[in-house]
């Protein structure tokens, strides 16, 4: 049902999308509203697809799985990556520097790092997700299984026989 005026409106819409000037409201699970540029919000594949599907842009997007503190930090990342250009070497270096500082700060608060990771996963923010999971991976690299259990709050439930079997497999894999 693409009427003439509808097509024109779609074109105008596309133009607006292009410029990324539209503002989008994201609401945390505590009901706090965050207004961000569309370019910033589009860092999230989840929101991007909702916007592109003509979702409730005006009403905003409630994010029942993300609390305000986490959302604020996630938006900080999205703003940087969504609103800034990354064409020149300098621009890319600036973003890389931002990422480095961003993750270093998060790394200092592991609990928060996990929250941000889960939010990045939920919102499908690829760059942020890669950044945080890599950070966690770097942390656990070289740790013993015992240290992993402590770090992740996991109970040791393997029998001696289980361990024997795993080790046997390991010599071959």
């Amino acid at each position: 049902m693409a009427t003439g005026s509808g097509a024109a409106a779609a074109a105008a819409d596309a133009e607006e999308k292009e410029s990324g000037s539209r503002m989008i409201t994201l609401t945390s699970n505590e009901g706090k509203a965050f207004v961000v540029t569309e370019a910033s919000a589009r860092q999230s594949a989840t929101i991007r697809s909702m916007v592109d599907d003509g979702g409730c842009v005006d009403k905003g997007f409630p994010l029942p799985n993300v609390d305000s503190k986490t959302l604020a930090r996630v938006i900080q990342y999205c703003d940087e990556h969504g609103n800034k250009e990354a064409h020149t070497v300098d621009e890319r270096a600036a973003l890389a520097k931002f990422d480095k500082d961003f993750i270093a700060e998060l790394d200092a608060d592991k609990a928060f790092l996990y929250d941000v990771t889960m939010a990045a996963n939920y919102l499908h923010i690829q760059g942020l997700f890669a950044l945080t999971t890599q950070c966690i991976a770097d942390t656990i690299k070289g740790k013993t299984p015992e240290e992993i259990r402590t770090a992740f709050g996991i109970e040791y439930d393997l029998t001696a026989q289980d361990e024997e079997e795993i080790k046997e497999e390991d010599t071959h894999a």
Binding site: M118, Q134, G153, D157, D170
Partner: protein, 642 residues
């Protein structure tokens, strides 16, 4: 809907556990003992960490079920208190008994509220712990408050004495009260104690049961209950109706949302539970399996294998077929063929897992490419497989095909300019360098000397001929020996016990002498841990094998790593390399060497460091070389330029 916590399997064995109160992440229960009908203990537990403590007996009489409340605020103290109201026969409160987890003691405090105090025994009147005081509503329409020392006693008038006093809760650090309007008993009023010190109540909101419950005339306490207010926002939780439907009402937006039916047989109390802040709960524990896999895939394969010993769930997680595809890969098994003229078709392809057990990780029948009936496996390199597919065996017309058994993708290479002769062809692929692969053919003259190489690039989709750049030397690759693709170069051993090396551009040509060029044999090469390694028969003992590592790739510096005797390897048998056994592969990540030996073509592994031998499985007599070590690749797509 998933449950955040299990229903208390953590508590020690009791006849019955009755939840009494919850407060800021902790839960107070009455645990009835097996011995004695009415004897009980109080237990306080943290469902998130599954920690619990049993409280010592107070000096109360058996069977006297007093009202007990839990008082805990991690912002004030890491210790909790349990308060019991002590009553006389007339149900007048004579005092409170307070247990402190700091001292581990109960202490009795006489009633400090002036005058007679009754405490409603109705369990659906919750008490509220706020600002260090416990608040309870009395049937005399008063809120009585006491601190945890039993020193400060206080009364707070209810907001509207004329109307039925309802219920107190707390939200956003504020005491709030609910009551019904006497003029309209289906109307609920919600009051906030805006100023704690001056007892200043403010009517925050009124709502009719008609709006709450789809036009139904429900009354508080009869058909519905207020069970909690969200600690951080104006969200009220109700339970109503026959099915005990849990629902939430957003005060500001006046929106109702049904959460779920709790079922007809649910009963009081509904205790709001708020897991403790991050420093107490372990947020890593809430990472989903999917997220853990995402983290593990960024680790080296050795770490991942090690982490199988973390727990049962991690072990299962890592072993899971679908997860394993995402995780870093290592040697998973061997492709090989068999020929048996007592069956049809005579030729068959096989795959054995490196463990020798279980269903083969990949299907070796390659049902995916069309009409691949007559196929020879030639080479395997970092997850890709090179095959020669015969159009007709009679006139030896064939195509090369490269496939990824992990993703079941395949490409057929265009014809090169060769005749029908079967040249030696090698596959060169390293996803760390490029997503494109190369196929290299050694071009030989009538005397079997190399005149050049023909290289196919999947990037250009073309074959290019390069003339022999190994100057002055007539070289001839040993046909049945493996070649090694490493550091962007293809390495093959020649009959002159030299390794000829060429890059994929046909520009850089190099020779590396084998470690023992004057020895009894030409030697064999493999790779492990990013290095070339060479095997030679010991010149002094033909039943002995020596293993060399090329420690420095640039200076041809070989180091003798290990020697081993066939007696040790094959249960006391004197086997000779090639005639009695073959070196099939070296594990890419560790000092594990794979052999195939004997009549039954038994696949076995030898651990160099521990000098341990292990039989993997018999591949059967009819199996034949090459045994191609396979490291799967599930992620990359097969890149072909055409």
């Amino acid at each position: 809907m998933t449950h955040g916590i299990d229903p208390l399997p953590l508590l020690p064995q009791c006849k019955e556990v009755i939840p009494l109160d919850s407060c800021n992440g902790l839960l107070l229960c009455r645990c009835l003992q097996f011995d004695g009908v009415s004897k009980f203990h109080y237990a306080v537990c943290n469902p998130a960490t599954e920690e619990w403590v049993m409280l010592p007996d107070a000096n109360w009489a058996d069977g006297e079920n007093r009202i007990a409340c839990l008082c805990f605020d991690p912002a004030i103290s890491s210790h909790f208190h349990v308060v019991e109201y002590v009553e006389d026969e007339a149900e007048r409160v004579t005092g409170v008994e307070i247990y402190s987890s700091k001292t581990g003691l109960w202490s009795l405090h006489g009633n400090g509220w002036n005058g007679v105090v009754l405490v409603s025994l109705s369990v659906n009147r919750r008490s509220v712990f706020l600002n260090g005081f416990l608040h309870s509503v009395t049937p005399a329409d008063e809120i009585v408050a006491v601190d945890m020392e039993g020193k400060k006693w206080r009364k707070i008038p209810v907001p509207d004495r004329d109307n039925d006093i309802g219920i107190i809760h707390q939200t956003q650090g504020c005491l709030c009260a609910f009551n019904v309007d006497l003029l309209d008993i289906f109307k609920l009023s919600i009051w906030f104690l805006e100023d704690y010190d001056t007892n200043n109540w403010i009517l925050k909101h009124t709502v009719s049961s008609l709006d709450l419950f789809e036009g139904k005339n429900y009354r508080l306490d009869f058909e519905y209950q207020v069970i909690a207010v969200h600690p951080d926002c104006n969200l009220i939780f109700f339970v109503y109706g026959l099915d005990n439907t849990l629902m939430a009402y957003e005060m500001d937006r006046k929106e109702v949302r049904v959460i779920r039916n709790l079922g007809h047989d649910y009963c009081w109390p509904y205790l709001p539970y708020e897991s403790l802040p991050n420093k107490r709960r372990n947020p890593a524990a809430s990472l989903t399996d999917e997220l853990i896999v995402e983290i593990l895939r960024r680790l080296p394969i050795r770490s991942v294998c090690q982490f199988k010993c973390v727990s049962k769930s991690w072990s299962r997680l890592i072993a899971d077929h679908e997860h394993r595809k995402k995780l870093p890969q290592t040697l998973s098994g061997f492709f090989y063929e068999s020929i048996n003229y007592e069956r049809y078709p005579h030729r068959a392809r096989h795959f054995t897992n490196v463990t020798g057990r279980g269903m083969p990780l990949v299907c070796p029948s390659f049902s995916f490419p069309p009409q691949w009936h007559d196929v020879d496996l030639l080479d395997c390199c970092n997850g890709l497989l090179l095959c020669r597919c015969y159009v007709s065996r009679r006139n030896l017309a064939f195509d090369y095909a490269v496939c990824n058994p992990g993703t079941e993708e395949w490409v057929v290479l265009p014809d090169a300019s060769w005749g029908v002769d079967e040249r030696r062809a090698c596959l060169c692929f390293d996803p760390a360098i490029s997503s494109h692969f190369h196929v290299l053919e050694y071009v030989v003259d009538e005397d079997s000397y190399i005149t050049g190489v023909e290289i196919y690039s999947s990037e250009t989709g073309l074959w290019t001929l390069h003339e022999n750049g190994w100057i002055n030397e007539e070289v001839n690759p040993v046909v049945e020996r493996t070649s090694v693709f490493l550091n962007g170069f293809l390495h093959s051993v020649t009959l002159a016990a030299k390794i000829v090396v060429v890059d994929m551009e046909g520009k850089k040509w190099r020779r590396i002498p084998m470690p023992d060029p004057d020895g009894l044999d030409n030697g064999i090469i493999h790779q492990t841990q990013g290095r070339l390694c060479a095997f030679h028969v010991d010149p002094n003992d033909i039943f002995k094998l020596s293993i060399w590592f090329l420690e420095d790739y640039d200076t041809d510096n070989w180091i003798l790593k290990h020697t081993m005797s066939s007696m040790k390897l094959f249960g006391g048998k004197k086997y000779r390399l090639d005639s009695g056994y073959q070196v099939t592969a070296v594990h890419p990540e560790c000092n594990l060497i794979f052999f195939v030996y004997g009549w039954h073509n038994t696949l076995m592994a030898y651990e160099m460091d521990r000098k341990e031998v292990r039989v993997i499985r018999k591949l059967r007599h009819e199996s034949r070389q090459p045994y191609l070590p396979y490291v799967p690749m599930f992620s990359e797509s097969l890149a072909d330029g055409r």
